[in-house]
Assembly symmetry: C2
Homo-oligomer: 211 residues x 2
DNA sequence: CCTGAGATGTGAACATCGAACACATAATTG
DNA sequence: CAATTATGTGTTCGATGTTCACATCTCAGG
């Protein structure tokens, strides 16, 4: 249908889509105005009708990447099955699930993860969009509500969880994990570390020793 | 002395120095061949006599930044005073010190920290240089030697400490710390989280409540 | 049904960037 | 002293983001 029309129709969203695809494959460096314009079947100057700047386009793509990350976490949390006999176990498993989803997103889509957090000290706060942070806050509130997390630990809990999970993601994305460690055990160690730091129970399927 | 000479003398180190200064002020984006050449009082093409590529120059500057970080950690560890009555306390305090030094380096020199870890999945391993990782390993071995860290926790310990400290650094550098948290308490929370995850003692001066 | 105004896309510029080349100059070595 | 190597210059090239005059489409109001 959209062939040979002088006007594109919805160039803005097409550019963002092309940007997301390019970022997934080549990271922030692949976000180039001329490439995205060509991929959208349009001349370079047309971009400026929808974005004041290449930086603004990149920022929007980065925001989309953060959204995709938050969605991955949310989906992982929803996939956790509740234990009817023990409400707290579900909350603990959800925290594990979102942490694991975060790191595995970084491992699965390293370039996109890099794009998500490429802003160099620009953003004054993270409060612009419903983000991974909010998903984490929700999970921690659940833990307090079910009595699994002591309220005195609630204040620092997001900082501990966020820094550990975000840090391990960055390590994996940059290929900075030294030998002989493997990504799989690194992820498990990080999740377990957060659990121990927050003094949470060990839910059955995440028991370290099984024998 | 070095005026109006056709040959610079030691252009390579001058370029690296200029690169480090530029990175400290403007981050990876400020590492531009022409600027560094001009700052070194030399024509752009001269750079290629000492580096095959701009990417190689940037990589060297990045390596220098990682070195500066490792030095900051090492110095912080050396500044810890031993307790003659309790050898273990010193080891615990050294772990705290190097973690704090890492994060505070990122806070003090965000652009340089960004430059230190700018490589996008390029490096296959981190084993190229005596790095922050080695300082961490040394501190953890000390903890085991003094009986403060249980040997069974030694294996995962570097992953836990590294991810948490590196992650909080990234959060602070990118200005991603949400309100109402302050950098100071975020740093304390991260250090305390690592300590709890590794089940270490609380050394006196880092006691949370003092009254 | 026009018709003109605003929205959207094009093409040809320009400045700047990393890079490549031939050439100039210094340092070193036999 | 001669010649080979090392190091720096000047010019040029392709690619990139950006701008501007112009072209084309859309659509509301006579």
């Amino acid at each position: 249908m959209p062939v040979d029309r002088y006007h594109h129709g919805n160039l803005r969203s097409t550019l963002l889509e092309a940007g997301l695809t390019a970022a997934r494959l080549g990271g922030p460096a692949a976000l180039q105005l001329r490439d995205l314009a060509t991929a959208s079947g349009v001349s370079p100057s047309a971009v400026y009708r929808h974005f004041p700047d290449m930086a603004h386009l990149s920022a929007e793509v980065s925001r989309s990447a953060r959204e995709a990350l938050a969605n991955a976490m949310q989906n992982a949390a929803k996939a956790v099955v509740e234990d009817p006999a023990d409400a707290g176990i579900g909350a603990i498993r959800r925290l594990h699930a979102i942490g694991r989803a975060y790191i595995e997103f970084a491992e699965r889509e390293p370039q996109l993860f890099d794009t998500a957090f490429m802003t160099a000290g620009a953003a004054p706060s993270c409060a612009d969009d419903p983000s991974a942070w909010d998903v984490l806050i929700g999970a921690l509130d659940d833990l307090v509500a079910t009595g699994e997390l002591h309220p005195s630990r609630r204040h620092d809990a997001p900082l501990i969880a966020w820094s550990a999970v975000h840090g391990m993601s960055g390590v994996l994305v940059r290929g900075m994990l030294p030998l002989p460690y493997l990504p799989e055990e690194a992820i498990n160690a990080t999740i377990a570390g957060v659990r121990d730091a927050l003094q949470l129970r060990h839910p059955p399927e995440y028991a370290v020793t099984r024998t």
